[in-house]
């Protein structure tokens, strides 16, 4: 694995900006990271970003921090991990520290409330943009199994509130079965 310390500053800056602008849960920042690291900087492959997301979701702790650890490690080892974490946690630490001192004014300010409400529409647009690209690539694998899994998983999590952990574990199980079947097929071909 290549380690490139010259990327540390870009890594820090990117994480800082993403973290400062991310409203909503962990999967929002994953969409932003995908756009930044896969599409803009071309540091990661798309499949890699999805793998990293699955890993971060399976590990305990805040998803954005987990993703920072892995992406940072990929770019520059442990130094990269620490740099990425710092970029991710500094904005909320600074913002919350300031707000906790006068949060009554913050909570009741109508301009802030309006901006936060409208920003959700913008965040949703970004996620949809990323999802369209990702879903297209799942369809492009032409594996019916994957397409059915994607649709079923969406219905389960969105309409029936099945937790992300259960979705990941179930798909992991399907993947293991898939592996056994693939290996058996290969054996059959050799014989």
């Amino acid at each position: 694995m290549k380690k490139d310390y010259s990327k540390l500053w870009t890594l820090f800056k990117s994480m800082f900006v993403l973290s400062a602008c991310t409203f909503g849960g962990g999967f929002v920042i994953v969409s932003l990271m995908k756009k930044r690291y896969v599409e803009e900087l071309k540091w990661l492959e798309e499949d890699e970003m999805l793998d990293v997301t699955a890993i971060t979701q399976s590990a305990p702790g805040p998803l954005p921090v987990n993703a920072s650890v892995i992406i940072g490690y990929r770019m520059a080892g442990i130094a990269g991990s620490l740099t990425a974490i710092l970029g991710t946690i500094l904005p909320p630490m600074i913002i919350i520290s300031v707000i906790s001192l006068f949060y009554e004014q913050f909570r009741t300010n109508p301009y802030i409330a309006a901006a936060l409400q409208v920003m959700r529409a913008g965040v949703a647009a970004v996620i949809f943009d990323v999802v369209i690209n990702l879903a297209q690539n799942v369809v492009k694998t032409k594996r019916i199994l994957y397409i059915v899994m994607m649709i079923t998983a969406f219905i389960a999590t969105y309409l029936f509130d099945v937790s992300a952990m259960i979705i990941i574990l179930t798909c992991l199980g399907i993947g293991l079965i898939d592996l056994v079947v693939t290996l058996k097929k290969k054996k059959g071909e050799v014989a």
């Binding site: 991310t22 630490m93 529409a121 647009a125 993947g175």
Partner: protein, 190 residues
């Protein structure tokens, strides 16, 4: 040893909050309100409001808020550090093994089956936030008559710009916030 207490409380929060930010909230409540009595329930609900309204991971936001309220800046550093230490150790180990074995074909087959799940999870997060943006409600409580037209227009415009011009995500999010606030102000709604 207030700081030490906070540190170990948040290590537990970091270690046991599996499955996203909202999983951390009951854990923090148990540690800070129920076990150690460092905050009242009312203060704690303020914390959730603020953590949801501001950018950043909810558990980091909460750790910072609790730390600041209870012990000032040293509290912020201790709580946040406690919260991320478990993540750091566990994910570093996972990352190490992932990059060591990811090219093995068997591992590829298993990872391949996780990718559609991750796409679905991201899509679900997007759908939830879109409902909140357009209806200020979850899917079950949303009524078409309550749709917020300004947000709908901004969503469509933002998605169009993203698809057409490959704009950066941050520019879109901040731009939509600014545009919406100006529109509401001009309409006299603020």
């Amino acid at each position: 040893m207030l700081l030490l207490k906070l540190f170990f409380a948040f290590i537990q929060v970091g270690l046991f909050s599996v499955g996203g930010g909202y999983a951390a909230i009951p854990l923090i409540q148990e540690q800070i309100v129920n076990i150690h009595g460092l905050m009242t329930l009312e203060e704690f609900s303020d914390l959730i409001t603020v953590a949801e309204m501001t950018p950043g991971p909810i558990s980091i936001n909460s750790a910072t808020f609790v730390g600041m309220r209870i012990a000032g800046v040293p509290g912020v550093l201790i709580c946040t550090l406690g919260c991320i230490i478990p993540s750091f150790c566990i994910c570093l180990t996972l990352a190490h093994f992932y990059y060591k074995y990811r090219t093995v074909s068997g591992v590829q087959v298993v990872l391949g089956s996780l990718r559609p799940a991750v796409v679905a999870l991201i899509a679900s997060a997007g759908a939830s936030i879109l409902m909140l943006g357009l209806f200020q409600a979850e899917l079950k409580e949303a009524a078409l008559s309550n749709i917020r037209v300004v947000e709908l227009v901004i969503f469509i415009a933002a998605l169009f710009i993203l698809r057409k011009f490959k704009t950066s995500a941050i520019a879109i999010i901040l731009g939509s916030g600014a545009a919406g606030t100006i529109i509401y102000a001009l309409m006299g709604a603020i």
